[in-house]
């Protein structure tokens, strides 16, 4: 028993005893006071009555002086035990008679004043004796109050006894009360202490007797039960929250779906826990789901369930279809359901099942299947938890998806940007190259013209001189070719493919020359040797194609080959004609074979793995990091498709790579007929020559005049127009106008326009350093009848003049 319980008990008993004691004492005191007061009052009233009686009876004795009679009257007080003395005094105040007779000396000698006097333990009444109004004498009565005090003592004794009895009964009652009231209260208090100190809500107060206490204890226990339930619910909720938190964090770090699903299923198995967990994916509109992830512990059960990764599971009309509709489905007892999906689980010993949908943008993309062996094993809180979890997983999946898309978009954007920059660089380079080519063409034009002219018109030249001139001519042609190739290094995309006859061997030679710096010079600077082998088939048929595109494609292939050989190696370029037997293509008739021309670029470099080989044709796919645009092979592939050609790649990691382009050969492709060497116009012509370059004017005038034509030169566009107009006015019009294209202020186009306006039938030949490009781009200015590139070849010029004037003359 603790101090607290002792205290309560003691105070209970103490209170009861105190109450009882106070009641008894107060009652006794009240009674005593009342008794004293009333007794004294009564005594005084009694004595006064007695005095009146005696006085009334003693009048005659006093009036007629009869002491004997007076004594007899006084003697009547004998019956009143408390009256101890009585006396009559006569009218003059002397003692007349006394009772008892012997008491005389203790009485006042003279009659005392009338009144009532209390002395300790006695009461004295002195009263006058009257007959009518006549005072006859005085009566003295003395009463002993001892009787009263005796009675009060008796009361005190009774009070004491009652006090003792009351105390005893109070103690007994207190003990009983203690059993009935304080014990349950103490038990309640101890329970409350246990609860508050230990936080243990499982303790219960013992049931108490009595209605109110029983009610109180019952209510307290009920409250404890509620708190305990609430606490356990709270614990469960906290555990769930923690679990949700862990799963959410774990899947937040992951950006691929299968890893997210694996984490979810694994954690659920371990911590919810569940006996079976898997996640199945669902394609929108599909009538089946596919098992995507299954928990490690559920794998054994999966065998029993007949489930395997990726296997389609048809959607039941019941639970699964509701889940696909976006609803969480709880099957508390799978064995009671007739549908195949729950039956499968019932057969494997999983009797309760929760199927929760994961929804992204109003469509269920996956479902979570959680199962437990016991039936009705999932509470509503479990279901709610799984529902919330699926919401989180769906969000994470959506995030992963968005992240992937964002990354993809970002990569695409970066590649596009790089491609655009590359293109821009190429364009700038090309423009610069074009400008240089134009100037060089202009500069070498007189050399070419004079050389050709000398060789043709001077039969007296020594053999040595002729040899020198031939060398100069070849050198000039080389320069012109080089410049032409350089100029075509850059070229904007053609709106449409202009196919022409292409001799692939020549193209290959060009490309090899052009890329020499890349496969020879640059590696040599780093001490790397790349050997280039050309294996060109000599009798290669021509194909129809865009030479520029083919050249670009081959350039790309050679660049790739060089990049694949960082330690050096052998680069081989092959051409050959081949026949593909019938059957593989099926495009041509039976018994025939399709002729094809094949170009191969092979290296002895690092090679490609399967993945790279598969993807290398995708735009923006690159293995070169920042240096690559991922567009090279894509461009090659584009060219191949435009030419109805085929592309093959043979490669293994470490064994080099061979890229094979195979072009069809059009059967009607004729051999290029050489132009007639000495085509001459039938007659002399009057020619207006417009150019801003005096050297070119001089050389062309010399050549043309040497052919017998009459040449008028104008050193600018406006001058040329003026000359032409003047000749028209003189009625001596020019028969042919040869004008340069690029001139300051008034260029060749305006000259051509003015000439055509003045004389619509006059042929106009445009000379230009850009000539081939104009041709290639189909960008021949209006009003121009023929475009000739610089340096002009004498034969071409003559042919053009003969063509234009001859046709007109005819």
């Amino acid at each position: 028993m603790t101090a607290r319980t002792r205290r309560i008990r003691r105070s209970l008993i103490g209170m009861l005893l105190l109450t009882t004691g106070i009641v008894v004492v107060l009652t006794t005191a009240a009674f005593s006071v009342y008794e004293v007061v009333t007794t004294r009052e009564l005594a005084s009233r009694d004595l006064a009555t007695l005095a009146k009686l005696i006085a009334a009876n003693s009048t005659a004795a006093l009036a007629f002086d009869n002491p004997g009679d007076a004594r007899r009257v006084l003697a009547t007080v004998r019956t009143e035990r408390h009256v101890s003395a009585a006396a009559l005094y006569s009218r003059d105040g002397t003692l007349f008679a006394t009772y008892p007779a012997t008491v005389g000396k203790s009485l006042p000698a003279r009659a005392p004043a009338v009144g009532e006097r209390f002395a300790p333990s006695q009461l004295v009444v002195v009263q006058g004796v009257f007959q009518g109004n006549l005072r006859l004498g005085t009566l003295y009565l003395k009463s002993d109050l001892g009787v009263i005090y005796e009675r009060i003592r008796l009361y005190a004794l009774i009070a004491g006894i009652i006090l003792a009895l009351a105390g005893a009964s109070a103690y007994l009652i207190a003990s009983r009360l203690q059993r009935e009231i304080s014990d349950p209260i103490l038990a309640l208090a101890e329970t409350a202490t246990a609860v508050s100190q230990k936080g243990d809500y499982s303790v219960r107060a013992p049931p108490a007797p009595g209605h109110e206490l029983g009610l109180l204890t019952g209510a307290f226990n009920h409250m404890l039960t509620r708190i305990e339930e609430a606490q356990s619910r709270l614990h469960i909720q906290l555990a769930r929250l923690d679990l949700l938190h862990r799963i959410t964090r774990a899947i937040g770090d992951r950006l691929d779906l299968s890893s997210i699903f694996q984490v979810v299923v694994g954690t659920l198995e371990a911590d919810l826990p569940i006996d079976f967990g898997c996640i199945c994916t669902h394609e929108p509109g599909a009538q089946f789901i596919r098992l995507q992830s299954i928990g490690a512990r559920s794998l054994a059960l999966a065998g029993a369930l007949g489930l395997s990764q990726g296997e389609p599971i048809p959607i039941d009309p019941n639970g699964l279809s509701r889940c696909i509709g976006g609803e969480l489905v709880y099957e508390p007892d799978t064995s009671s359901l007739p549908f195949p999906f729950p039956k499968r689980f019932a057969g494997a010993g999983i009797h309760s099942l929760v199927i929760a949908p994961m929804i992204v943008e109003q469509s269920v993309f996956s479902i979570l299947v959680a199962g437990r062996c016991a039936s009705e094993a999932f509470s509503s809180a479990d279901c709610e938890f799984l529902d919330h979890l699926c919401g989180h997983v769906a969000l994470a999946a959506r995030q992963a998806q968005l992240h992937g898309a964002l990354r993809q978009a970002y990569d695409d954007l970066r590649r596009s940007q790089q491609a655009v920059m590359q293109q821009e660089r190429l364009r700038a380079l090309g423009q610069m190259a074009s400008g240089i080519a134009h100037d060089i063409n202009n500069a070498i034009s007189p050399v070419a013209l004079y050389t050709e002219s000398l060789l043709e018109r001077e039969p007296n030249l020594s053999d040595r001189a002729r040899g020198y001139l031939g060398t100069i001519q070849r050198a000039i042609e080389d320069v012109a070719d080089t410049v032409a190739r350089m100029r075509e290094f850059y070229r904007p995309r053609e709106p449409q493919l202009v196919l022409a006859r292409v001799a692939l061997n020549r193209t290959v030679e060009h490309v090899v020359d052009l890329t020499r710096a890349r496969w020879s010079d640059v590696p040599q600077q780093r001490g790397i040797v790349i050997q280039l082998h050309k294996e060109l088939s000599p009798d290669l048929p021509q194909i129809m194609g865009a030479e520029g595109e083919i050249r670009d494609a081959l350039t790309n292939l050679i660049f790739n080959a060089v990049d694949a050989m960082p330690q050096g190696g052998t680069l081989t370029v092959r051409t050959r004609a081949s026949f593909i037997p019938d059957g593989s293509c099926g495009a041509v008739g039976a018994g025939e074979a399709e002729r094809r021309v094949t170009v191969e670029v092979a290296d002895s470099g690092i090679g490609m793995d399967e993945e790279t080989r598969r993807r290398c044709l995708e735009p923006f796919y690159t293995t070169k990091g920042e240096r690559g645009t991922g567009l090279g092979l894509a461009m090659v592939y584009g060219m191949v498709q435009r030419h109805s050609a085929e592309l093959e790649i043979d490669s293994k990691p470490g064994c080099g790579a061979t890229v094979r382009l195979s072009f069809p050969v059009t059967s009607e492709a004729p051999q290029v007929s050489a132009p007639s060497m000495r085509a001459q116009p039938e007659r002399r012509l009057s020619i207006l020559l417009v150019d801003d370059d005096p050297l070119l004017i001089k050389s062309l005038r010399d050549i043309l005049e040497g052919d017998g034509h009459r040449v008028t030169a104008a050193d600018g566009g406006q001058h040329g127009i003026d000359e032409f107009t003047a000749a028209q006015k003189r009625e001596m019009p020019f028969e042919v106008v040869i004008t340069d294209l690029g001139m300051p202020y008034v260029d060749g186009r305006r000259v051509a326009a003015a000439v055509r306006a003045a004389s619509p039938t006059t042929p106009i030949i445009l000379l230009t350093g850009w000539g081939r490009r104009l041709l290639a781009e189909n960008d021949i200015p209006p009003h121009v009848d023929r475009v000739l590139g610089k340096p002009p070849k004498l034969m071409e010029l003559r042919a053009a003049l003969a063509d234009l004037t001859g046709s007109r003359a005819a």
Partner: protein, 183 residues
């Protein structure tokens, strides 16, 4: 002891009274001073019928018939006293025929011979007759003052009193010896 002393004192008073009586008529003998007090006291212990008084404040008349043995004592005793609303006066009659309105009439021993006539004359009137003639109560006087053992005692003929319409207090009757024919 006190009673002995009182008796001695009373005796001395009586002796003094007897010795002084002849020489001072105004002073009565001590015995008669007591009797005068008795006469006054009777007015307190006897009640008269209402018709005995002319009015509510009419005096109670105490009269002496014959020789006045009281001297001036009786007058001195009743001076200033009252019975209820009634004052007290003293009168002296020498003959019974003089007696008119009177309430207490003391019949002196000098009238012993004429006592029957006097009583006859007073019959039916509301007058308390008192006398100290020996045996007077037997003859019809209502109160006879008897000297016994030096104490004045009374013999009361209550029948005579009732016959005259008077009521004597029982206290007084308790002290007296009741005599006379049973009325």
């Amino acid at each position: 002891m006190s009673s002995i002393l009182r008796r001695i004192a009373l005796l001395a008073v009586l002796c003094g009274a007897l010795g002084l009586a002849p020489c001072s008529p105004a002073k009565a003998a001590p015995e008669y001073r007591v009797k005068a007090a008795f006469l006054f006291n009777f007015s307190q212990f006897v009640s008269w019928p209402p018709q005995a008084f002319a009015s509510a404040t009419a005096p109670v008349v105490i009269a002496v018939l014959g020789r006045n043995p009281f001297g001036s004592d009786l007058i001195a005793i009743v001076r200033g006293e009252r019975v209820g609303e009634h004052p007290l006066i003293v009168r002296q009659y020498s003959d019974v025929s003089e007696v008119d309105r009177c309430h207490i009439l003391f019949i002196d021993r000098s009238e012993t011979a004429r006592l029957p006539q006097i009583l006859e004359a007073l019959r039916g009137r509301n007058i308390l007759t008192v006398s100290d003639i020996d045996g007077s109560a037997q003859t019809g006087v209502m109160i006879d003052l008897v000297n016994r053992d030096h104490h004045i005692r009374m013999e009361i003929n209550n029948g005579a009193a009732r016959a005259s319409g008077l009521t004597i207090s029982s206290d007084l009757l308790r002290l007296a010896r009741i005599v006379g024919p049973k009325a």
